[in-house]
Symmetry: C2
Subunit: 115 residues, 2 copies
């Protein structure tokens, strides 16, 4: 149905990356996404905000080059662009994810959606 625009690696900026990760809701989402390395329907990750707000956050993450969004049927599948981001800015995303895991252990088990 919908086609998404994704920045190429050379279009990804460091400040854009940091800004996208500096929001608690987005950082938490990326953190959850990193736990399951496969694609994730948006609904599978608990979010504390309205779906329109989450749509906005996903757009920010996508435009920052952090996630890739693909649509399949009615749902859109989101996956982390870990390798690409790591290739561009080695260590940054990994260190941030590690720090986030240790700072606030949110959802230990990913099996049960909290919402």
């Amino acid at each position: 149905m919908k086609q998404y625009q994704h920045p190429t690696p050379d279009q990804i900026t460091l400040t854009g990356l940091l800004h996208a990760l500096s929001d608690p809701v987005r950082l938490n989402y990326v953190q959850c996404l990193a736990r399951e390395l496969r694609e994730c329907p948006c609904g599978a990750i608990p979010t504390p905000v309205a779906k329109s707000t989450m749509s906005h956050h996903l757009r920010v993450l996508r435009e920052a080059g952090i996630v890739r969004i693909r649509t399949e049927g009615t749902q859109s599948l989101t996956s982390l662009r870990l390798h690409e981001v790591e290739a561009k800015f080695p260590g940054v995303l990994k260190a941030v994810l590690k720090a986030a895991d240790e700072e606030g252990p949110i959802g230990q088990e990913s099996s049960k959606p909290v919402l």
Copy 2:
């Protein structure tokens, strides 16, 4: 003359850190600060903004726990809290600084102020 408040390591948050680093002016400043590991009077680093604006940016960096500011005479000396931040969030600041250096090599030599 003036005493500054600095957050303790346990008061430093990851999102606060990322947000502080996500502004180009601030990131550039931190980058310059990292080159000279000693204390730096604010005037020694070229900035593209007014001094009142820079005062604001330094406040953000200080409150995020990234820099320590000490006053001596009329000038305030700023230094990077690299070890403390690294102890709290290992690898994050170092990776960001490295990425910043490789993304935009701004002032190779710090001798001549660009403005």
